[in-house]
């Protein structure tokens, strides 16, 4: 059934780790960049705590540009950026640049929409109690939108698994690259199959863990 799997077992394990590496670090940076971006988007929106039309529109436009460029094109645009910053446009580290560029704006939008769910009344109550804007961000907006944020992280992580397969083909590394190079192009369908199954398992695990976290922090019902 799987004639090439034994000989390729090291390669398979390595590719799996590369995928997990790319996904987890991209996710980390996507959250680090996307969370404050999302908070700024919501705070500067009309009628919110710090309404500021120019900043809101500028941020919104940047986010939209990144989100409307197809990921495969974004990879090409991020090649010079990676080269400038880490000296190479090849390998898993270089792939992380385009992965973050593709997922952080997306995650920022998810943060913005889950924070929009926090009722005006609760924010007003906090203001009436003498909360600073900073207090409202940390003690109201973030905790109250936690289920949405965790769900957003989960969606982003699943998306990153898919993107990382593509990024791997261009920059090298991961299960996507293995499926393409060692599987499809080398006429080894069993490798292609194993790569697919492993990607499915990773996605399932991410989704399961994400759902678990969302349930843990959701006290709305």
């Amino acid at each position: 059934m799987f004639p090439n799997v034994p000989t390729y077992s090291d390669r398979i394990i390595q590719a799996t780790f590369e995928t997990l590496y790319m996904v987890s670090f991209s996710l980390l940076f996507a959250v680090i960049l996307g969370l404050p971006l999302g908070v700024l988007l919501i705070l500067t929106s009309p009628g919110h705590l710090l309404p500021n039309r120019p900043i809101h529109q500028l941020l919104g436009t940047i986010v939209n540009i990144f989100r409307s460029v197809p990921y495969i094109v974004l990879i090409l645009w991020m090649i010079p950026v990676a080269r400038a910053l880490i000296g190479t446009s090849f390998g898993t580290n270089a792939a992380i640049f385009s992965l973050v560029a593709g997922s952080a704006p997306f995650f920022a939008r998810l943060v913005e929409s889950s924070m929009r769910e926090v009722s005006r009344g609760v924010i007003e109550a906090a203001q009436a109690m003498g909360a600073r804007t900073w207090d409202i961000i940390w003690k109201v907006l973030l905790p109250e939108s936690m289920p949405g944020i965790f769900a957003g992280i989960t969606v982003t992580a699943v998306g990153l698994v898919g993107y990382s397969a593509m990024a791997g083909v261009v920059a090298g590394g991961g299960l996507g690259a293995m499926a393409w190079n060692d599987g499809y192009n080398s006429f080894k369908n069993d490798i292609l199959f194993v790569a697919t199954v492993l990607l499915i398992i990773i996605v399932q695990l991410i989704q399961w863990f994400g759902d678990f976290l969302v349930r843990r922090v959701d006290h709305r019902s």
């Binding site: 009344g121 109550a125 906090a126 009436a128 109690m129 003498g130 003690k139 109250e144």
Partner: protein, 401 residues
């Protein structure tokens, strides 16, 4: 179950406030001062505790969407009283109450609270002032991500209390609102009444001298409404906290308010002691609210009950020959508890036919209305009217027979 809790609550209040006195001496002293103020009827300053001077509020000024929410409000609220603002939705109540803690800024005019012009406060000064003004809401506005106890901790965290003391204080506060047994429950698991109790505990956290209530009972059923009103009343009495509330329900006004302002289309149409407004509403809108609280037909009848009644409800044969009048008698205060009608019949040659009647309590004041038909000779009817008016009964329609 609810009844039991309320009874326990009433008893609990005195105990709790004693505990609080032990825990927090400064507060107890302050309360005593306030109690003296509220009893004496005048605050330390010659100025009122809350004073709105010619306040106007426009939304979207200068644009096509411009709306005048408040059109020149003058209002004085004294320390220690429970002051109600009643109006239909859109009357400007929400805006009015939010001016007091500067969640809304007036377009024109001034808002003074405790001798401070709210417009002059910014940054930390405003935040500290707001900490001394508690607020509760129609939809409770609790953080669902926090338990009841953690919700009460929230304002203490904002005020920078050390964790251990804050927790201790939050427990005491939940005790005051009889909710200690639910301290670890998330709001989603609490009933409406319980949520509002958490809201009240949270509002009291930083020892405010003023509590703002924004339709706090409007989302609750009548029984729970009464429980919450009872709680607000005992907080006002034991802690001496001034309460300003807005509502569209006369029930709330009559149960706990000392004075009421009737707000309509951004204008105060009437303001006065609740018993006076109930007894003699001046404005059309106040009459409508009183009518809703009493018997609608009863008050509307005031408009039509002029002159002799053409169709007495009773058989003519049963009444002695002579005149018949339909009166609406209003009893305010202790006269409502005296056997006035019995005396009237004993001492006067008139017959009384009672058509409808109602007695209720306006906070501490007994208040009754009685619609009667009086039959007899004109002379005796006139004497009866004089007798009633001497005892303090208000008769509608007024005047001579």
């Amino acid at each position: 179950m609810n009844d039991k809790r309320m009874v326990m609550n009433d008893k609990g209040m005195t105990m709790k406030s004693k505990e609080m006195a032990v825990n927090d001496k400064g507060m107890a002293v302050k309360n005593k001062e306030m109690a003296i103020n509220s009893k004496g009827g005048h605050a330390e300053e010659s100025e009122s505790f809350i004073r709105l001077k010619h306040v106007k509020k426009l939304y979207y000024p200068g644009t096509k969407r411009e709306i005048a929410a408040l059109k020149g409000i003058d209002l004085d609220i004294e320390k220690g009283e429970i002051f109600g603002v009643i109006g239909y939705s859109g009357a400007g109540k929400s805006t009015l109450i939010r001016l007091i803690n500067a969640l809304e800024k007036p377009t024109d005019g001034e808002v003074w609270v405790g001798g401070v012009n709210m417009a002059t406060l910014t940054g930390d000064a405003l935040r500290r002032k707001r900490m001394k003004i508690g607020m509760i809401f129609q939809h409770f506005n609790l953080l669902w991500s926090r338990t009841a106890l953690e919700n009460v901790l929230f304002p203490l965290e904002l005020a920078g209390w050390p964790r251990a003391r804050a927790t201790q204080r939050a427990r005491e506060l939940l005790d005051i609102v009889s909710l200690s047994h639910r301290k670890d429950a998330y709001p989603a698991r609490l009933s409406g009444g319980e949520k509002q109790r958490v809201g009240i505990a949270r509002a009291l956290a930083n020892e405010p001298d003023l509590l703002l209530s924004d339709e706090a009972t409007s989302a609750l059923d009548p029984k729970t409404t009464d429980d919450i009103l009872e709680l607000l009343l005992s907080i006002n009495r034991t802690l001496g906290i001034t309460i300003v509330l807005i509502t569209h329900e006369m029930r709330v006004i009559e149960k706990i308010c000392d004075r009421v302002a009737v707000l309509d289309e951004g204008v105060i149409k009437e303001v006065g002691r609740v018993r006076d407004v109930f007894a003699k509403p001046q404005s059309a809108i106040a009459k409508r609210f009183v009518a809703e609280a009493l018997d609608a037909e009863d008050v509307l009848m005031r408009e039509t009950a002029r002159g002799p009644v053409s169709e007495p409800a009773t058989d003519r044969l049963l009444t002695s020959s002579g005149e018949t009048r339909r009166w609406r008698l209003i009893f305010v205060g202790e006269v409502a508890e005296r056997p006035v009608i019995t005396e009237l019949i004993r001492q006067h040659a008139v017959e009384i036919n009672i058509l409808r009647g109602e007695i209720k309590r306006l906070k501490d004041t007994p208040f009754g209305t009685l619609t009667v038909e009086v039959s007899g000779r004109l002379e005796d009817i006139q004497k009866a009217r004089r007798y009633l008016e001497q005892t303090g009964v208000i008769i509608e329609p007024p005047g001579e027979e």
